[in-house]
């Protein structure tokens, strides 16, 4: 492993015999970049907390359906007897909180908010992660290629990034989502909606990733280890994948964790504009949307999905910050 940032790891590798001979003796162990990063990360309690919350959220999203069936929660069941239709709010205080509905029910329909938060978690996280993966893959590939080859390749890709950045993203997102309503690419209904959201959000966010990767590549390709590889006869693809990419993992990872919360908010914004997930499917963005119109009548309804999005965004941000500090101590 070539590690231009950290040089401590090479100490152990230099004396393999000594390590084998004195296996029992307590000796300074060699640590890879990632071991060191992990140690540093563990010491950062805030980041660990963020990480734990993220893991819990992912578990919640992955197990949403089983959780609902175990506890008998139906996110789409109406309880209109619990709602005062004239006041556009649930009966009782705190948005209709009760033992049956711990977080209350939504106005108009009386659907259980807790069930809808759980049901909405997988949609929101799936869209956010899917879109992130898409923009990371696109951004990394194009960014590395642009940075490494330079010249006209760089010019073309960079102008493409500029074009994408200059695009009125929201307008485009709305028109694509609105025109791809009924079945495309063999999908329809909810899977299509989720697919479209992932595509729209991911496809238009890649230039941000691309620029970061390109800048990193530009500085890396002049480094000694790349020169060394090149002088040993390595070709472009080898250098790209074996020498450059591993060194780009840190910034990519960090940026990805910071991109996920942005994308969750973007999904919320699109649902807010009515081009997100179709009813009755719950999504956090959709819940926030319907709550916004009625926040004076039923503030509780806005607080719950708002908090869910807030906690998720915060957790991913803390995790991302921690990862960056751990992987790149100079940025501290």
């Amino acid at each position: 492993m070539t590690a231009p940032i950290e040089t401590t790891g090479s100490a152990a590798g230099a004396q393999p015999e000594a390590v084998l001979a004195g296996a029992k003796r307590s000796q300074i162990e060699g640590r890879s970049l990632y071991q060191i990063a992990w140690l540093r990360f563990r010491r950062d309690r805030v980041a660990v907390a963020g990480g734990i919350v993220v893991i819990l959220l992912v578990l919640l999203a992955a197990l949403a359906k089983p959780i609902e069936s175990v506890f008998g929660l139906d996110p789409n069941a109406f309880h209109q007897d619990l709602v005062d239709p004239s006041l556009l709010a649930p009966k009782g205080s705190w948005g209709g909180m009760s033992w049956e509905h711990p977080l209350g029910v939504d106005p108009q329909y009386g659907r259980d908010i807790l069930a809808r938060i759980i049901e909405g978690s997988w949609v929101s996280l799936l869209v956010a992660t899917g879109a992130t993966v898409l923009s990371v893959v696109l951004g990394t590939v194009l960014g590395v290629v642009a940075g490494f080859y330079g010249g006209w390749v760089d010019s073309v890709i960079s102008r493409m990034m500029d074009t994408f950045l200059a695009f009125p993203l929201l307008l485009f997102a709305i028109s694509i989502s609105a025109s791809l309503q009924d079945g495309a690419f063999g999908f329809s209904g909810l899977p299509l909606r989720i697919g479209v959201l992932i595509f729209v959000i991911g496809f238009f966010n890649w230039p941000y990733m691309g620029r970061i990767v390109r800048a990193q590549t530009l500085s890396l390709r002049e480094r000694e280890f790349v020169e060394a590889a090149r002088s040993l006869g390595a070709r472009g693809p080898f250098i790209l994948f074996r020498e450059l990419l591993p060194n780009l993992v840190a910034p990519i990872l960090v940026y990805s964790t910071l991109l996920i919360p942005t994308n969750i908010l973007f999904e919320a914004a699109l649902s807010f504009l009515g081009v997100g997930i179709a009813p009755p499917q719950a999504s956090w963005g959709g819940m926030l949307t319907s709550a916004t119109g009625l926040y004076q009548a039923d503030p509780q309804y806005m607080i719950v999905p708002g908090l869910a999005i807030f906690v998720t965004v915060l957790a991913f941000n803390l995790l991302g910050d921690g990862l960056r500090d751990a992987l790149d101590p100079r940025s501290k």
């Binding site: 789409n76 209109q80 239709p85 004239s86 108009q108 329909y109 009755p280 119109g293 004076q296 009548a297």
Partner: protein
């Protein structure tokens, strides 16, 4: 009046209101208390609240958006038609009166209602003597003819208004409009034998013609003052008020028209000295200004913002000042007869029995915002007959009967279809969500697809080709009549002739020879009582065909400030206050 436009404007207003949280807090303590407005809730539905003969004061209107145009010949909004009566006199108009009496059409610029020929194909009006414009020149029948020509035949300049004259006049399809056809005769099928007489020659008998004569497009316009779409900047008044200032997109001020002679006008009291209207005021701000009495009228007349609704309903003091006015519009689902399985009447009946109308009504905002509907015609339309062909307890639906129909339809386990609604209309989306949930119980999976309201009829739900190829079986819509009779309501949504390749409102594609024939023959009948009975019979036939599922008779939750006098709801203009009557009590 086109419901779609009015509610689209409201949807926009709601969106605007979302952005203005700062205006949300009201000044609760400054409202109420003064004036004689201590009436009960819904008082203005059946009486004139705060009656007064006191002249003077400034009557202030505010609107959350802008009108299509204040030009009487270039508007389709119900509220502008109501408002325009302050400065424009059409041949006939609706009587400014309480309750049902407000639906009565009465002569305004004309001496009496139209005199029809026996076949209702020729209609003659005589203008009142002594009616003058604000500059003192007398109003002639030629000005009325010119007004009809410009409002109906010049879409290149005035595209907003209804074009019923073009559709019904004998040579309506040939005439090119006054801006293109410069011949001094104008359209041949309107004759003006003298300065006070005007004769309309129609293609077919049309007994509702007095209602067409009540559209603001018949209000006189002097040809030399007409500047096409720019006429709105200098409207020449024939009514009690004239424009002293007008600013596009901002508002207008009207002052008394000294040339208006009350002796020529038995229907207007014209009490305020001045009338002001402001556009683009945030809806929540309008509501709060009504509550704290610094404003008299929300011009749009669609009722308070959902944000304000709980505030005025929870406080008993404010609740007394609300009126839940029937808006003259019905929300319904069209089941398209060419989309399987709705070509089978039993599948349509399954939906009729299975839909929980009460649930849809609650989702739409409960009793203040609408009543459970069992007919297409709303109760405030001439010809409404009360009946229920699919009676279930409290309108909650009957699962057993619905399943029976499903079995007869050959779909005992239900089926999957598509339910469309307009994405920017919260109430419509809410009702669609409720309908979807109730159909789930009988095994029908209705996938909701939403479209922006601006393109709903022109590109999606109103385009049969699109509907068929995308299997849009269930189409949510709402309809309010351009004039409150059974024909005005039903013709565009149930007559086979109203099916268009795009932009049509007959979303069920109902083309039943019997219904078509009944509509076409009843409109030729000059006997009003027989005509009104026919509308109810047709409505029943439509219910038996089961292709339209009425859900809710829409209502507006209006707020009546104590500072306003002579307040009553007019049923003629989609359930808003009658602006020709109102004055200030301060």
């Amino acid at each position: 009046m086109k419901r779609s436009k009015a509610t689209a404007a409201m949807a926009a207003a709601v969106v605007l209101a979302l952005g203005a949280t700062a205006c949300g807090g009201g000044s609760k303590d400054s409202g109420g208390g003064k004036g004689g407005g201590s009436s009960a809730a819904d008082a203005a539905l059946a009486s004139i609240v705060n009656p007064s003969d006191k002249k003077g004061g400034t009557l202030t209107f505010a609107h959350s958006d802008v009108p299509d145009s204040l030009d009487p010949g270039n508007t389709y909004y119900g509220w502008v038609q109501n408002f325009a009566r302050l400065y424009a006199r059409s041949l006939t108009t609706f009587k400014p009166a309480v309750g049902k009496a407000g639906l009565q059409i009465v002569p305004d610029l004309a001496e009496s209602l139209g005199k029809p020929s026996a076949d209702a194909k020729t209609w003659t009006y005589t203008l009142r003597q002594g009616v003058k414009y604000e500059d003192g020149t007398p109003v002639t029948s030629k000005d009325v003819k010119y007004a009809v020509e410009r409002s109906n035949f010049a879409p290149e300049a005035l595209s907003n208004g209804p074009t019923y004259f073009k559709a019904h006049l004998a040579d309506g399809d040939k005439y090119q409009g006054p801006y293109k056809d410069k011949s001094p005769d104008g359209i041949k099928s309107i004759e003006t034998p003298d300065d006070r007489t005007i004769v309309f020659h129609l293609k077919d008998g049309f007994a509702d013609f007095d209602y067409l004569a009540g559209l603001p497009g018949t209000a006189p316009v002097p040809q030399k003052a007409d500047k096409g779409a720019d006429y709105v900047k200098h409207i020449i008044s024939s009514g009690p008020y004239k424009f002293s200032s007008y600013e596009d997109g901002k508002g207008a001020t009207l002052v008394r028209n000294p040339e208006w002679d009350p002796k020529t006008d038995p229907i207007r009291k014209a009490l305020p000295d001045k009338v002001e209207i402001k556009f683009k005021v945030n809806q929540v701000t309008i509501d709060n200004n009504l509550i704290n009495n610094s404003l008299q009228v929300d011009a749009q007349g669609n009722g308070v913002d959902p944000q304000t609704q709980p505030k005025v309903l929870q406080d008993p003091k404010y609740k007394k000042q609300t009126d839940s006015a029937i808006a003259g519009a019905t929300s319904y689902i069209g089941l398209n007869l060419h989309v399987k399985p709705f070509d089978n009447i039993h599948c349509r009946k399954a939906v009729q029995w299975g839909v929980d109308r009460a649930s849809a009504q609650e989702a739409a905002g409960g009793p203040p915002k609408g009543d459970v509907a069992t007919t297409l015609l709303p109760p405030t339309v001439n010809g409404y007959t009360k009946f229920d062909e699919y009676p279930t307890p409290n309108g909650k639906g009957d699962i057993a009967k619905a399943k029976e129909e499903l079995a007869q339809c050959g779909q005992p386990n239900g089926f999957t279809t598509t339910l469309t609604a307009r994405s920017d209309r919260n109430t419509e989306m809410a009702m669609a969500t409720a309908v979807q949930a109730s159909l789930k119980k009988i095994g029908i999976t209705a996938e909701i697809k939403s479209f922006p309201s601006g393109k709903y009829f022109t590109n999606f739900a109103g385009v049969p080709d699109y509907v068929h190829s995308h299997n849009l079986g269930m189409i949510m819509t709402a309809w309010g009549a351009d004039w409150p009779t059974g024909f005005g309501f039903l013709d565009q949504i149930t007559n086979g002739a109203a099916i268009k390749p795009s932009g049509g409102n007959n979303v069920q594609e109902l083309d039943d020879p019997k219904i078509n024939e009944m509509l076409n023959s009843a409109i030729k009948n000059t006997d009003a009582a027989a005509r009104n009975k026919a509308w109810g019979d047709i409505d029943k036939l439509i219910a038996d065909n089961a292709s339209a599922v009425p859900l809710v008779y829409r209502k507006n939750l209006l707020f009546r400030p104590t500072g306003a006098a002579n307040v009553t709801v007019t049923q003629a203009y989609l359930g808003m206050y009658d602006y020709a009557l109102m004055s200030v009590s301060k």
